[in-house]
């Protein structure tokens, strides 16, 4: 059996042991996420517009991640709405910055891997770079919206008569607590994911200026920065969505 399948089975067993039904659902969301991701790539290969495919896939992937991991449906629904808003805001940042930075496709460091491959394939790699950036940020967005939404849920439950405006600042407070560790998840992800590239830079004595202008490094670094900005704007956006909903709920009750 292939190592990937066995590792997957180990993960499945552990998740069910630790999380029971919820653990199984989380595993299912991982499998479905992979399926949709691969399906999206195949659609792009058939010349469907990459950004449109990515946006549709992105909303589906957010829904899968949030609804299959959450316990409380109402919280998940609000988290989902907030995450879609964050996604749209990020897209407005990603599209112009990717056109500006021009980090699409491959760099000089990729030359060995590209041997024997035909590059002019008639698909705009700028669009592909935008799609990559959008897809890479989805996990971070989903995680942050869920953390804030469930944190605020706790507060709403314990203080049902809290003022809506107060709730907004509580959301920001919850956000402050998660930002430090989320930042680490993202940056260690970058350090780890690009370790061999950094070893390359070191071996060939790249200067800081070389690295800062290097296409391959910039492509990955920019994505981590997009995720980080996504997590930061998640804090006010999620707090705002939940506060507004809470206000409406109060009005209909009274």
């Amino acid at each position: 059996m292939s190592a990937i399948i066995v590792l997957g089975l180990v993960l499945l067993v552990l998740m069910v042991l630790v999380g029971g039904k919820q653990g199984f659902q989380s595993f299912l969301s991982l499998v479905l996420n992979f399926g949709f991701l691969f399906f999206a790539i195949v659609l792009m290969a058939f010349h469907f517009p990459p950004i449109v495919v990515t946006l549709i896939a992105g909303v589906i992937l957010l829904a899968l991640t949030i609804f299959l991991s959450g316990t409380n449906d109402e919280t998940s629904r609000l988290a989902f709405i907030a995450s879609v808003l964050v996604l749209l805001a990020l897209v407005l940042l990603i599209v112009p910055v990717e056109h500006w930075a021009q980090v699409q496709g491959f760099g000089l460091e990729d030359s060995d891997d590209l041997e024997g491959l035909s590059l002019p394939i008639g698909i705009s790699f700028i669009d592909i770079a935008i799609s990559t950036a959008i897809l890479s940020t989805l996990g971070a967005i989903a995680e942050a919206t869920m953390a804030i939404a469930s944190g605020l849920d706790e507060i709403k439950e314990q203080h049902p008569d809290i003022k809506p405006n107060r709730l907004f600042f509580d959301g920001v407070y919850v956000g402050k607590q998660i930002i430090g560790t989320t930042l680490n998840t993202l940056f260690f992800g970058l350090f780890g994911g690009s370790l061999s590239l950094f070893v390359w830079f070191h071996g060939l004595s790249y200067s800081l200026g070389d690295i800062l202008n290097d296409k391959v490094f910039d492509a990955e670094f920019i994505i981590i920065l997009f995720s980080l900005i996504g997590v930061i704007i998640t804090i006010p956006i999620t707090s705002f969505v939940i506060t507004e909903q809470f206000k409406n709920q109060k009005q209909t009750k009274s």
Binding site: M1, S2, A3, I4, L7, L11, V18, G19, Q22, G23, S26, N33, I66, V97, Q102, V103, Q104, G105, L108, D110, L114, S118, L119, P120, I121, I123, S124, F125, I128, A129, S131, T132, G139, A140, E143, A147, N165, K176, I179, G180, T182, L183, T185, L186, F188, G192, L195, S196, F198, W200, H202, G209, D218, A219, E220, F221, I223, L225, I229, I232
Partner: protein, 365 residues
């Protein structure tokens, strides 16, 4: 809503915007800091357009443009040069230049020169600054500690790279394992402080990261690493297998730390509020907190590891390769990394809850 608007820190946003404009002006005029000659493009002329069809029936167009501009730095500053640039519709390794853009060029003498690559430090610095500014505006102090820990960790990372280059990668796994422990200790010290809670979190982070690697090594041994293609690893200048494991350790460390911190800080808070809570209750509520965050966390790394394979996978598919082969050569390593870090993240739930229920007990003054 009016109340929210009143608290909007308009002064701070104004100050950040001003600094930002100054910084952007500087970075877009920092050519004197570079030793390679930089050219600013002043005139673009489109020369020709050709239709191209490759052996896999992919249709593309290639264009030639004539660029004229002026050198902005070094001893050739002020000289005018003219050169040709070729680009395609797909722009995989080339780009279309526009008036006003800057690019690094290579001067061959006798008026001959070729364009190397775009100067892209301005957009990168813009994004770094935007992230830092947003962090300060929304998070104040929490933002400063977070950035501080990133800076210290980056310096440590460079030191580790230096030692790795020293003996040509033969100790890469040891160097980055030690680095992983140092990373966690410093980060947790900055985030939590120097106390019992920090040590419990550190123990949980380190234990789970290495446990997940050990489990994976056992799986590798019994499956003979079938389906893992180290030869598909990119940018390899050292033996790929230890480098891959080192990548996975560092990559999953942050997420395992994230999970452990969330569980342990909630449990310590619970223990503070209700000192009479039993070990078993503590363990069970740790499991409850952990199981709802583990799914989203695994997905964070999944999307980061898999997202970056998109361009190459697509290129493989368009070069007449089968779906299975394109997956194996591009996505299998990312998949293995996602799964190993997933195992670490899940293990963190019982380990963090167990360690806390064991060590949070003796909290008497």
């Amino acid at each position: 809503m009016g109340n929210l608007l009143k608290k909007f820190p308009i002064k701070m946003v104004g100050i950040f915007a001003l600094i930002g404009v100054a910084l952007m002006f500087f970075v877009s005029h920092d050519d004197f800091l570079y030793t390679q000659p930089i050219m600013q493009i002043q005139k673009v002329e489109e020369l020709s357009k050709n239709k191209e069809i490759d052996t896999f029936q992919n249709v593309d167009h290639s264009y030639v443009q004539k660029l004229s501009g002026v050198i902005t730095n070094g001893k050739h500053k002020g000289e005018h040069i003219t050169l040709n640039n070729t680009y395609t519709d797909s722009k995989a390794m080339d780009k279309k230049y526009k008036v006003g853009q800057k690019a690094f060029v290579v001067l061959h003498g006798q008026g001959e020169s070729t364009i190397r690559d775009a100067k892209r430090d301005t957009p990168v610095v813009f994004l770094i600054y935007l992230a830092i500014a947003l962090m300060f505006i929304f998070l104040k102090m929490a933002g400063i500690t977070a950035i501080g820990s990133i800076i210290i960790n980056t310096i440590l990372f460079m030191v580790a790279l230096y030692f790795d280059g020293f003996n040509n990668g033969s100790n890469v796994l040891w160097i980055f394992s030690i680095l992983a422990v140092l990373f966690s200790a410093i980060t947790l010290w900055l985030v939590i402080g120097w106390n019992r809670q920090m040590f419990v979190t550190l123990a949980s982070t380190v234990a789970c990261t290495f446990l997940s690697i050990i489990i994976s090594l056992i799986v590798f041994k019994f499956t003979h690493e079938k389906g893992i293609f180290y030869e598909s690893m990119q940018y390899v200048t050292q033996p790929p297998r230890p480098l891959f494991l080192a990548e996975t350790i560092i990559g999953s460390l942050g997420a395992v730390m994230d999970e452990s911190t969330d569980i342990i800080s909630s449990l310590f808070a619970l223990k503070m509020e209700r000192p009479e809570v039993s070990r078993k209750q503590l363990f069970l509520s740790g499991r409850n907190i952990g199981k709802s965050i583990m799914g989203p966390l695994i997905n964070v790394l999944f999307f980061i590891f898999m997202g970056e394979t998109l361009s190459m996978t697509l290129l493989f598919l368009k070069n007449g390769n089968s779906w299975g082969y394109s997956f194996s050569m591009n996505m299998s390593l990312g998949m293995v990394q996602s799964l190993i870090s997933g195992i670490g993240i899940v293990l963190a739930v019982p380990v963090a809850s167990g360690l806390t229920s064991f060590f949070a007990e003796k909290r008497r003054k």
